[in-house]
C-alpha cells in the first residue's frame, strides 16, 4: 500500500507538472489521485485518447496521467446525491471509451463525500457514489470485473475549505488506475 501511495504521489506530481505546462488549473491539489486537473480536462471536452498538446507526448497510454489529462478521472455529485448528472455521464462515457481502448487496464472507483455528514453515513454515501459510477460504466459495456469500488466517506477531501466551492469538489467519484 505504501508503494502504491508513492506511485500515486509521483503520478500526481507528473500530472500537475503537465497541467501547469498546458494552462492554469484549479489549485485544489493535495488529492492522491490527480488534483484538480480533471475539471479542466472534462471542460475541454476532449474525448480522444491522443495527445492534446505537445507537452503530453510522454504520457503513457492507459496510465493515470493519460486518464487525468485526456479523459477526466472524476465526476461530481450534488449534496447528499448519488445520481450521475449529464456532465458526469459525459465524463463516464469518455472513461468507458478509454477503458475499451486500453483493455488491460483495471481501475478502482473511489467514492467521496463532503464534510457535511456524519462519518458512517458518509461512508455509505461514498460507496453509493462509487457504485453509481461503476454501474454506469458497466451499462456502457465495461466488464464489471475491471472496476472495483472503495468508499472514503469524508476522510479524503481534495479541497479543504468549509464552503460550497470546496464541498462541490469533494463530492466526487474518482477513477484510479490500478
Amino acid at each position: 500500500m505504501r508503494l502504491n501511495l508513492g506511485l500515486k504521489f509521483l503520478s500526481m506530481i507528473a500530472a500537475l507538472t503537465l497541467v501547469a505546462a498546458c494552462e492554469t488549473a484549479p489549485q485544489d491539489s493535495g488529492d492522491s489521485s490527480g488534483g484538480g486537473a480533471s475539471s479542466q480536462a472534462s471542460a475541454s471536452g476532449s474525448g480522444s485518447t491522443g495527445a492534446t498538446s505537445g507537452s503530453t507526448t510522454n504520457v503513457q497510454p492507459g496510465s493515470q496521467e493519460d486518464l487525468v489529462l485526456n479523459v477526466g478521472d472524476r465526476v461530481f455529485f450534488g449534496f447528499d446525491q448519488y445520481n450521475l448528472s449529464a456532465e458526469a455521464r459525459e465524463t463516464a462515457q469518455r472513461q468507458a471509451a478509454w477503458l475499451k481502448a486500453n483493455p488491460t487496464v483495471t481501475v478502482a472507483i473511489e467514492g467521496h463525500a463532503d464534510e457535511r455528514g456524519t462519518r458512517e453515513y458518509n461512508l455509505a454515501l461514498g460507496e453509493r457514489r462509487a457504485t453509481a459510477v461503476k454501474n454506469y460504466l458497466v451499462t456502457l459495456g465495461v466488464s464489471a470485473a475491471r472496476v472495483s469500488t472503495i468508499s472514503y466517506g469524508k476522510e479524503r477531501p481534495v479541497a479543504e475549505g468549509h464552503n460550497e466551492q470546496a464541498w462541490s469538489q469533494n463530492r466526487r467519484g474518482v477513477m484510479v488506475v490500478n
Partner: protein, 452 residues
C-alpha cells in the same frame, strides 16, 4: 481469538468499611447530604479532599498525587467545588482520627474526605479513606484498596467514584478509559491512529501506528477488546483489537465494505453495516459461532446500529424515508419503526446504558448538534450546537457524553481544531479532554473491572 483479558498483577482489591456504630449518635436527625444531578446548572457542592497521609516521604507524595486525581475528577464532573487545600484548618494524619468538624464548617466544606497510604510488605500500596458529612458530622462511607504502585492513578479514580456514588446516588464513571482516533496532518492526507487513555486524558497511549486509516473504535462491554474500521490493504473492514496483546483480526469475510460496528451488551455479538452493490444494510455476527444474520434489507442507507442495554432492541439510522433519520427495531430485525421526525438529518444514535435515552448527532441549518431523545423519539433535547459536533458516546452511568467537535481555523495559518469534549446530560458542564493531537470518534469504556 478473543482471549479473555488476562488478570493483571496490578489488580485493585477492596474492603468495605462499616463504621456505623461509631457515628450513629451524632446528627442523626439531619437531612442526608445528597446531590440531585438531574437538575441542570446546579450549584456545585463544596467539598474538601485532604491529601492522603503517609508514614514515609514516598507514601506521603503518592498520597498527595492520589488526592489530586480525586479532586480533578470531582471538579470535572461539574457537581463539586473543590476547596483549596491551603484553606484547611486541620491536617488529618491518621485514618482513626475523627475530624474536628467545626474546622471544616468554617471553610464551608459540606463533605470531607481524608485517607492514608501504606506501603505493604509485598511491594503494593494500600489506601484507606473516609467520607464525612461535615454539617451532620456523620460518617458516609470508607474503603480500603490496594494495588501496584504504578497503578496509583486508578486508586484516585476509585475513590472519586465512591464519593460520587455516595453523594449522588448514581454509579460513578471515573475509573474508565476512552478509546478514540488521534488525528494529525492536512485534511487531504490525514493520519489517523487508534489511541486509548484514562477518561481524564492521563496514561495516553497509541494502539496503531497510522499506516492504515482507522475509524470508529468501540469497546467491548466485557473484555479488553475494541472493534473498529480499518483500511488495511485498501479493504475497509471491521476488525477486532485485543488491547492487552495488540492482536488484530478482521471480522468475517464479507464481499463488500463492513463498517459502523458495535458490540452487543453481552459482548458476544457485533452489529455492523455491510455495503453490497452500493447499498448498506445492517448485519449481526455471533463472535462464538461466526454466524452472520442480516437484519435490514432496504435500498436506503441503513447504518449506525447500537444495542439497547437489555440486548432486545437496536437503534439505527436510515435514509429510507428520504432523509437520514433514527429508527428502532427488535434484535431479530423485526418491527422496524422510525422514531425521529424533526427537521434536518439525524445520525449516530447511541442507546444510553440506563436504557432511557438515545443520544444522536443532528444536522440542521448548517449546524451539527449533539442531542438526546427518549427511545420512542419524544422529548428531544439539544445539548450542544455548533459548526460541527458529532459522534456521542455514553459514560457507563448514562449521565455524561463524550463527543468530538471541529472548530474551523480563522485563516490559512490557523488550522482547524478537532477535539474531544464531554458534556453533562443536562447540557451543562462542557469540558475539553486534552489529547496530544487532534482527536475524533471517542468511545467510553465500561467501568474497569476490579482485579485489573
Amino acid at each position: 481469538m478473543m482471549a479473555v483479558g488476562k488478570r493483571m498483577a496490578t489488580g485493585i482489591k477492596q474492603v468495605v468499611f462499616l463504621m456505623v456504630a461509631l457515628f450513629l449518635i451524632t446528627g442523626a436527625a439531619r437531612a442526608e447530604l445528597v446531590i440531585d444531578i438531574t437538575q441542570g446548572n446546579i450549584k456545585p457542592l463544596p467539598v474538601a479532599i485532604s491529601d492522603f497521609a503517609g508514614k514515609s516521604e514516598a507514601t506521603a507524595i503518592v498520597g498527595q498525587k492520589i488526592a489530586d486525581v480525586v479532586r480533578a475528577d470531582l471538579e470535572r464532573s461539574g457537581l463539586f467545588k473543590i476547596i483549596d487545600k491551603r484553606a484547611f484548618l486541620q491536617q488529618i494524619s491518621d485514618i482513626q482520627t475523627i475530624p474536628v468538624f467545626s474546622n471544616w464548617r468554617k471553610i464551608n466544606a459540606q463533605a470531607l474526605t481524608n485517607g492514608i497510604v501504606t506501603a505493604l510488605p509485598d511491594g503494593r500500596i494500600e489506601i484507606q479513606f473516609r467520607l464525612w458529612d461535615v454539617f451532620s458530622e456523620q460518617y458516609l462511607t470508607g474503603h480500603k484498596l490496594s494495588t501496584q504502585p504504578t497503578n496509583w492513578r486508578r486508586l484516585g479514580h476509585k475513590v472519586a467514584d465512591y464519593i460520587y456514588e455516595r453523594l449522588t446516588g448514581e454509579s460513578g464513571y471515573f475509573d474508565t478509559r476512552v478509546v478514540y482516533v488521534s488525528e494529525s496532518g492536512p485534511a487531504s492526507r490525514r493520519v489517523k491512529r487508534l489511541a486509548i487513555m484514562d477518561q481524564d486524558g492521563a496514561r495516553h497511549q497509541f494502539l496503531t501506528d497510522g499506516s492504515n486509516l482507522v475509524l470508529t473504535p468501540r469497546f467491548s462491554p466485557s473484555q479488553q477488546v475494541i472493534t473498529y474500521l480499518s483500511y488495511f490493504n485498501n479493504r475497509p473492514r471491521v476488525y477486532l483489537l485485543d488491547i492487552d496483546t495488540g492482536q488484530q483480526e478482521v471480522l468475517g469475510e464479507f464481499p463488500g465494505m463492513t463498517f459502523a460496528p458495535r458490540f452487543s451488551p453481552s459482548g458476544n455479538q457485533v452489529v455492523m453495516s455491510m455495503s453490497e452493490n452500493g447499498n448498506s444494510d445492517i448485519y449481526i455476527m455471533d463472535l462464538r459461532t461466526r454466524a452472520v444474520k442480516r437484519l435490514t434489507s432496504h435500498p436506503g442507507i441503513d447504518t449506525g446500529p447500537s444495542f439497547s442495554p437489555d440486548g432486545k432492541q437496536i437503534t439505527f439510522e436510515s435514509d429510507r424515508g428520504g432523509r437520514q433519520q433514527l429508527y428502532v427495531m427488535n434484535v431479530d430485525g423485526s418491527n422496524q419503526k422510525r422514531i425521529s421526525f424533526g427537521r434536518g438529518n439525524y445520525g449516530t444514535p447511541v442507546w444510553s446504558p440506563r436504557g432511557d435515552l438515545i443520544a444522536f448527532t443532528k444536522l440542521t441549518g448548517g449546524k451539527f448538534s449533539i442531542g438526546v431523545m427518549r427511545t420512542d423519539g419524544s422529548q428531544e433535547r439539544i445539548l450542544t450546537e455548533g459548526f460541527h459536533n458529532e459522534g456521542p458516546s455514553w459514560a457507563p452511568n448514562g449521565r455524561v457524553l463524550v463527543f468530538f467537535r471541529q472548530i474551523p481555523g480563522k485563516n490559512q495559518q490557523d488550522q482547524d481544531k478537532v477535539r474531544l469534549w464531554s458534556i453533562d446530560l443536562t447540557g451543562y458542564n462542557e469540558r475539553e479532554i486534552i489529547t496530544p493531537r487532534d482527536g475524533s470518534d471517542p468511545a467510553w469504556s465500561p467501568l474497569i473491572p476490579d482485579g485489573r
